[in-house]
């Protein structure tokens, strides 16, 4: 049953997500809107770091590939595309989108949504940082980015101006989905019930494959058919905010009340108050009802008035991460890995002057993932990982170097060394009064 519903498809759930499931949806999903959610807290700060070293970058590196793959299909099907792939540089991302559309011969109206960059404003206002409970100016690290979470309003404005492709920076993930719903149904900006319901749909779709069996599959307790061909979800949303969640026939994965329940609560600390720029959504009364194979009806979400302040993600230069790994296996594997760690630690401190408190040692295979809560005293094989975040790249480089030099100077039978060095960002959060943040929409024709 269509015609009385609007169909939203999830094309990506994170910056590095697969492209072929989105192409499948664009080609035969009959979508009204295809949404690519490509921005995590860390992604936007890392994108700012890239932009600082090359001003032409700072958007999702996969943006061109995604658009090249889907635009011919979305153009044919009258599907409009919304994405936050603009990350730290929505203007450049918009221009890239226009170039890709021109190359493909797909006439498009591209909208760039900006105004999320509030670096100058936070420097002036000096808000309290959540993580440190002290003013921003007291953070010792260099602040490189500040991005406010925008709501659905600029997406609605862009759609009203006829945009086919909307590229944003930091916008709240569910707002990417709420925008098309508000545009389609003309929901009022203070109809908290409907905005809460639309936000629930957006939240369910925003991680794409996590609704259809990704991050869910367990061969023992939660088998998922044909996981390699995982289909991304779409939703048929009615004017009252209820929706039917679905995936395409002949795709892998599963979509049922269990996958939906898990995703509803994903990264939600208070299900009665899910804070977004548009509404404080309440998921506590949500119910899922199976309506057919891979079809689930969602209803019961509601909402209360939106917060007066907007959350801001702050990005700081976090120094350099140096890392090295080496494997030991068989008798006394963990003993040899521990000896190796002692050697590396001693040399990093004594020979290279690395701050000992910055050095972290993990024994992968002996319980490292559980952070020492459980240790297997006799693993068959263990991979030693030594890492540290240090101020300078050359100091980060010696972490992996000292692990590598275990080959000829360390315990018996160490093999398979890998080493990396990379710059890091630290992300923290604060609030800004919403009247200090001014979203804008800028149109490009291609």
């Amino acid at each position: 049953m269509r015609g009385t519903t609007v169909r939203l498809g999830a094309g990506a759930g994170f910056a590095g997500d697969r492209i072929d499931p989105a192409v499948d949806l664009a080609r035969r999903g009959g979508l009204d809107f295809l949404i690519f959610e490509c921005l995590g807290e860390r992604t936007v700060a890392a994108a700012h770091a890239r932009r600082l070293s090359d001003p032409s970058t700072g958007y999702d590196p996969l943006l061109a590939a995604r658009l090249r793959a889907v635009l011919p299909h979305t153009h044919r099907g009258g599907t409009r595309v919304v994405t936050n792939s603009g990350a730290a540089n929505p203007e450049a991302a918009g221009e890239l989108a226009a170039r890709v559309a021109a190359e493909l011969g797909v006439p498009s109206r591209i909208a760039v949504v900006g105004g999320d960059d509030v670096l100058d404003i936070v420097r002036r206002v000096d808000p309290v940082v959540w993580e440190t409970d002290a003013p921003l100016s007291a953070c010792p690290e260099e602040l490189i980015s500040a991005n406010a979470y925008l709501g659905a309003a600029p997406v609605v404005e862009a759609l009203e101006q006829g945009a086919d492709v909307i590229v944003t920076g930091r916008l709240a993930d569910p707002a990417l989905f709420l925008g098309p719903l508000v545009h389609t149904y003309g929901w009022d900006a203070d109809d908290w019930e409907l905005l809460g319901a639309g936000t629930a749909v957006g939240h369910l779709l925003e991680c794409a494959g996590q609704l259809t069996g990704g991050y869910f599959a367990d061969p023992g307790t939660k088998p998922v058919p044909d996981l390699a061909r995982l289909g991304f979800p779409f939703a048929d949303v009615a004017a009252d905010g209820t929706a039917e969640l679905r995936k395409l026939a002949d795709t892998g994965g599963r979509l049922d009340t269990r996958t939906c329940a898990e995703q509803l609560l994903y990264e939600v600390d208070d299900p009665t108050a899910y804070l977004t720029p548009d509404v404080v959504a309440d998921f506590s009364e949500v119910t899922f009802t199976g309506t057919g194979e891979n079809r689930v009806r969602v209803s019961g979400a509601s909402g209360r008035p939106r917060p007066d302040q907007l959350k801001v993600s702050l990005g700081f230069r976090g120094g350099w991460l140096g890392e090295g790994q080496i494997s030991y296996a068989g008798p006394r594997a963990l003993d040899r890995a521990r000896l190796a760690a002692d050697v590396v630690r001693e040399r990093l401190v004594r020979v290279h002057g690395v701050d000992e408190s910055a050095i972290r040692v993990e024994y992968i295979g002996a319980g490292a993932a559980f952070r020492g809560l459980v240790v297997d005293p006799q693993p068959f094989e263990v991979r030693l990982r030594v890492s540290a975040r240090v101020p300078e790249p050359d100091q980060a480089e010696v972490i992996g170097w000292e692990v590598e030099s275990l080959y000829t100077n360390g315990p018996a039978a160490g093999g398979g060394v890998t080493r990396t060095t990379r710059e890091t960002v630290v992300v923290r959060s604060c609030l800004l009064p919403r009247q200090l943040v001014t979203p804008f929409v800028h149109l490009l024709e291609a």
């Binding site: 807290e41 860390r42 700060a45 959540w130 993580e131 991050y215 869910f216 367990d218 307790t221 939660k222 269990r258 329940a261 898990e262 995703q263 509803l264 609560l265 994903y266 990264e267 939600v268 600390d269 208070d270 299900p271 009665t272 506590s284 009364e285 949500v286 119910t287 899922f288 019961g300 976090g318 991460l321 890392e323 972290r360 993990e362 992968i364 490292a368 993932a369 559980f370 952070r371 809560l373 459980v374 990982r385 890492s387 540290a388 975040r389 890091t424 960002v425 630290v426 992300v427 959060s429």
Partner: protein
Amino acid sequence: MSTVLLDDLADVRAGDKGDALMLSVFPRDPADADLLSTHLTAEVVARHFGAAVTGPVTRTVLPRLPAFVFAIPGVLAGGVTGSTVLDGHGKTLSYHLLTLELPIRPTTEGESI
């Protein structure tokens, strides 16, 4: 007293919010919700994560799904961007909760708890 593993009764999904690990617990059989409500308390979960926990663990009960949401502060010390640990998100830690033993007599065929 005999015990049952949480892994035998429920699914768990992990998410992160800063330093806090978020764990959502879903009884596989909704009929087990009361049992989990009694035994899977915030205190029990806090004890299972031991010294890594830096503040009170909170539990939110969602009877309609049914589900339980635990916020466990401090476990992700530094969060995904602040720590050099391999799994900064703590995504693997949902399966640590599944290893929790609950003081419940295991059911056998035809017997109710």
